[in-house]
Amino acid sequence: MEISKDTMKKLYELLLKSRLVEEKLLEINSRGEMVGFVHSCIGQEAIPIGATWHLKKGDAWNCARGHIQSNIVLGMDLGRMFAEFFGKKAGYCGGIGGKVHLCWPEIGNMGFRGIQGAYFPLCCGTALSQKMRKTDNVTICFFGDGVTSQGVFAEALNLSSLYKLPLVFVCSNNQYSMQTSFREETVTENVADRALPYKMPGIIVDGNDLEQVYTVVGKAVADARKGMGPTLVEAKTMRMRGHLEGDQQIYRPNKEREVEEWNQKDPLTRFTKTVIDRGILDQSQIEKYRDQFQLEIDRAVAFAKEAPHPSPEDLLKNVFCES
């Protein structure tokens, strides 16, 4: 699939903006100003961006490892996003959900986080709803390598294939599950191999190659829209930081070598070279984007910092919904 110049340009903008947001989060966290946990996805942004690009109104997805890139692709307001990260009332969930439960059904972000793996059957459910309503909508289920050891992963592969659900599984295999390496977690060579017994395609892509992710997930999404059932895409990548910020990673003896090796494969560096080499963007345009996005992000953070906290009466709101 040839990607148009216009799409390439937009993908680049999203990748750059996402990187700057990740860097801002790390900066905020290092100053101790973050509320809740930061699971950094830096260096893995190409996967959600390339996948989410293909979503449209009525589609659904889950926010697996707290990846925020899909929200950026689908036009979430950064001010309200940071407000939610800070637990402020102006956030999408009124400051009640936080970074871990950020959701906004308007753009298909159903949340579904908190307990890793729960989203597998939940995503089968959103896809079942899409199918029962006879729409051409799809669900993307994002997840990491660690959570493939949850039993519900196998159940969801079976259910989605059994009912031919419009569902695309997108795995960011960053080789680490908290303190444990992928090799210590399973004897399965690749996550994609798990597709085989469930009679669905299982495809491995280079997760740091935005074009490849875009193309492969694009095909899987198109197939799902046509009623051809689920696909499992495994995007190989590397966790560049700890599980959580502050994690000393003593369980990772080869950390420096790994990070150094994968720095060479950084998706933003690679995609920058691609768009420059192909004459889609030049360095000065990129600098202009960088300044523009930085300003947007700084404004968003300032808005979120100033925003009021929820009021005491919000403590007991929405335990049950009224209608």
Binding site: H101, T126, L159
Partner: protein
């Protein structure tokens, strides 16, 4: 009025709601034929698309139902027995029940978990097929817990549960499915959160739920011969609890007895007692909580007979209470 069984009443409610609203569908293990026959025949009216047989894997299919509810469908998912509810517990207690709150009210989860509870058949179903774990869910914010005691209540409460925009655990009792009673044809609802005074009395308030309401009524009837006038309150909904009806009754009678088919410790009786004692400082007698022992259910038929509360046991305990 015509009389139908509890099982038929439940099916009527399902059928009514499926007819009325295309978003309503049922799923679970073998629902096309129905493990207890409750959903049997729905497939003829609504087809396989809305009566979905699932694989044996409760975390998967219950979670799938929760996900569909998050998208605005109205699933009624059958968990064959409440003993199996430990398997999809995360989907119920964490995912469905907290969806409204943690999304800041952006999302809702209009789902009904239907499940069969309890035992007492002396047929040796044993520790993992005879429990009533309904009280666990009283502890979880964001889910309603309903347990009918008559065919009439079952139909009205189930329609109300399906119409409710929140997750509802709907607890049925296997031993009651064949029980017959008067049930109006067509639509009616019984509001969730309202207890029902099944029998008025002045000496003692006997607060029961589900199958135990029958035991309570029978015991109350027989206790009149001993000169004891028992008021029987059917909670119908364990969460939210109808605190007003409970407290008003005990204020009148001055004596509180609870009767439940779950384990005694941390159970329905403990919660009802707390509700009463928060508001009334003086009773005529100590509170009595009748429930199953804090032990798993035995298979041995004679032991099983000792295990579940029964009419003579309730009568004896209430008589003793009146003498105290």
């Amino acid at each position: 009025m015509r009389e139908i069984s509890m099982g038929q009443a439940i099916q009527e409610a399902l059928s009514y709601c499926m007819q009325e609203d295309e978003r309503v569908f049922v799923l679970g293990e073998g629902v096309v034929t129905g493990a207890f026959g409750i959903t049997k025949g729905l497939v003829d009216k609504f087809g396989r698309e809305r009566v979905i047989n699932t694989p044996l894997g409760e975390a998967g299919f219950v979670g799938m139902a929760v996900g569909a509810a998050a998208m605005g469908m109205r699933p009624v998912v059958e968990i064959m027995m409440i003993d199996f509810i430990t398997v999809p517990m995360d989907m119920i207690a964490n995912q469905a029940s907290k969806m409204s709150y943690i999304s800041g009210g952006q999302m809702s989860c209009p789902i009904v978990f239907r499940t069969a509870a309890g035992g007492g058949s002396a047929r040796g179903a044993g520790a993992l097929h005879s429990q009533n774990l309904a009280a666990w869910f009283m502890h979880v914010p964001g889910i309603k817990v309903v347990a009918p005691s008559t065919p009439h209540d079952a139909k009205g409460l189930l329609i109300a549960s399906i119409h409710d925009p929140n997750p509802v655990l709907f607890v049925e009792f296997r031993l009651m499915y064949a029980n017959k009673g008067p049930v109006p044809e067509g639509y009616y609802e019984i509001p969730l959160g309202e207890a029902d005074i099944k029998r008025e009395g002045k000496d003692v308030s006997l607060i029961a739920v589900g199958r135990m309401v029958q035991i309570a009524l029978e015991a109350a009837q027989k206790l009149t011969q001993k000169g004891i006038d028992v008021e029987v309150i059917d909670l119908r909904t364990l969460s939210p609890l109808d605190e007003e009806t409970i407290v008003e009754s005990v204020r009148k009678t001055g004596r509180l007895v609870t009767l439940d088919e779950g384990y005694e410790r941390g159970g329905m009786g403990s919660e009802v007692t707390a509700v009463v004692m928060r508001q009334l400082s003086k009773l005529k007698a100590p509170v009595l909580t009748i429930a199953c022992p804090n032990a798993p259910v035995p298979v041995s038929p004679p032991l099983e007979k000792l295990y579940y509360p029964n009419v003579p046991m309730v009568m004896k305990k209430v008589e003793d209470l009146m003498k105290s």
